[in-house]
Symmetry: C2
Subunit: 321 residues, 2 copies
Amino acid sequence: MDNFWSKYPSIQYELNQVKDIMKKNVRCIDKFMEDIFIEMIDSGGKLLRPAFVILGGHFGKYNKKDIHNIAAATEMLHMATLIHDDIVDNALLRRGKQTIQSGYGKKYAVYMGDFLLSKSLVVLTEISEVKNLSFTSKSISRICLGEMEQFLSQKNQNVTIKQYLRRISAKTAELFSISLYMSALHSKCNKKICRNLWHIGHNIGMAFQIIDDILDFCGDEVAIRKSAGNDLREGIYTLPIIYALKDGNSDLSSLLSKNDLCDEDIRSIVSMVNYASGVEKTKKLAQWYTDKAFQLIQKLPDNEYKNILNDITKTLLIREY
Amino acid sequence: MDNFWSKYPSIQYELNQVKDIMKKNVRCIDKFMEDIFIEMIDSGGKLLRPAFVILGGHFGKYNKKDIHNIAAATEMLHMATLIHDDIVDNALLRRGKQTIQSGYGKKYAVYMGDFLLSKSLVVLTEISEVKNLSFTSKSISRICLGEMEQFLSQKNQNVTIKQYLRRISAKTAELFSISLYMSALHSKCNKKICRNLWHIGHNIGMAFQIIDDILDFCGDEVAIRKSAGNDLREGIYTLPIIYALKDGNSDLSSLLSKNDLCDEDIRSIVSMVNYASGVEKTKKLAQWYTDKAFQLIQKLPDNEYKNILNDITKTLLIREY
């Protein structure tokens, strides 16, 4: 996060406090695991979700201690989902580092994820708002459903745009929405602001995931720090493929049906999808969600946090790709 | 559960209502998963934990709807831990049936467990008691720690009795304690009764797990419906082994150091452990916890639920083995 938040020292300062809360809460009898968590916390993710919690909270009556707890819980929950995702994806690298599952084994990763998940709820219970807990638990179950849907639709060439959008709404946008919403609710913002923040989170999350999928599809090992064509190799069909398949390209369809795609296959698929304007159409949809996010941000009451939210949304979503 | 609760029709009736709540709560867009859950719910576990919730609740002002929600959440949480345990144990069978991980893949099992875990918390949030949620979340993290400790201590011949007891206290006794305690608390029992129920759950859970470990060690494929010597093959050293190792038997020690134990090895280990009175000492400790549980049950106020608790504790813990 060092570079990402350096332009906003007040947010960076608060995020460091959130990191301290997280570190305090992963302390446990299992020192081996504790060290892994501390390393994860320090390893330099953007801390987007806790930052969204902080930003959302500032639109109302800001209770720093509570908001920081919500922020810590949200990031711990996110870390838990990352650990479990990596098991499912068989991923070797995450943020340029070895994943828990590849370094310590799938078995250990299962419990580490569960431990973090439960600890995130322990942190939330400390601020005594059942409403928040109810939202969070429902969110977790939606996130899981999204992940399971992705898993079940592997290698399914009939997956629709609607199914894809539902899947990324659950697996990514959900946590963005809830981060902005939960803290606004806790800060007693009025309903309109809370709802607007929810939708801002949703649209940022949708655009963010679609862009991530484009980057994975087109390949950019430096920028995204994970291997290219990963989704494709795992049989996960993202939007560029789904758009291209809609055109009924039988060559693409039969190539996708192959087991174990080699680099050459991936290159052929990318060029077929480009020919069918799959990436172009996907970029347009990402732009649609991006525009929507900015429109909704404009409707927020004017203050420095609105400006920061606007700024970082630009950094996240207006990219060369 | 058909036979286990047939002597107590009122509890059996309530447990069927709890099963309905569970079925309602696993309904989701993923029909494939829903069917697996429904099958799990109907597959005939003893439903000990939800029964303990019901029994504990009856010691105070019984709010049926709330208590049934707590009972459903507790069993869903237990099911989630079973699904994740089976991934970690590589288990093929559970209650005589194929496990989720062997039938549908480890990956799917990760999310199914997460989904159930989060859904169990959603159910708990419906009865609006932060205290309960806080206990439950803390319990989940303790259960995970217990499981991780077991995982980390695999093939460790220096594991102590104290470490073993801490491990089974977390992974098994914790959920028994919390089942009896949480409902008593919700039913506004006085502190003494709540605390006593907690300790009863702890002692039953400890004896139950020690007996389970003896059965796994000595082998009884019919009674426990899972393969014998499972723990040993996985490098998990339970109490009989730990007692025998304390005697400094170097033959046992070097046999345990072998990779891939064959049936002949298992038989030799069992006979060495028996010679060192490992099983005998373990049975004595199980008896100690059993006696303690009965003593504490006697201290409960007299009513039909005390009698039922006493009866089923006998059925669970006084066994020929």
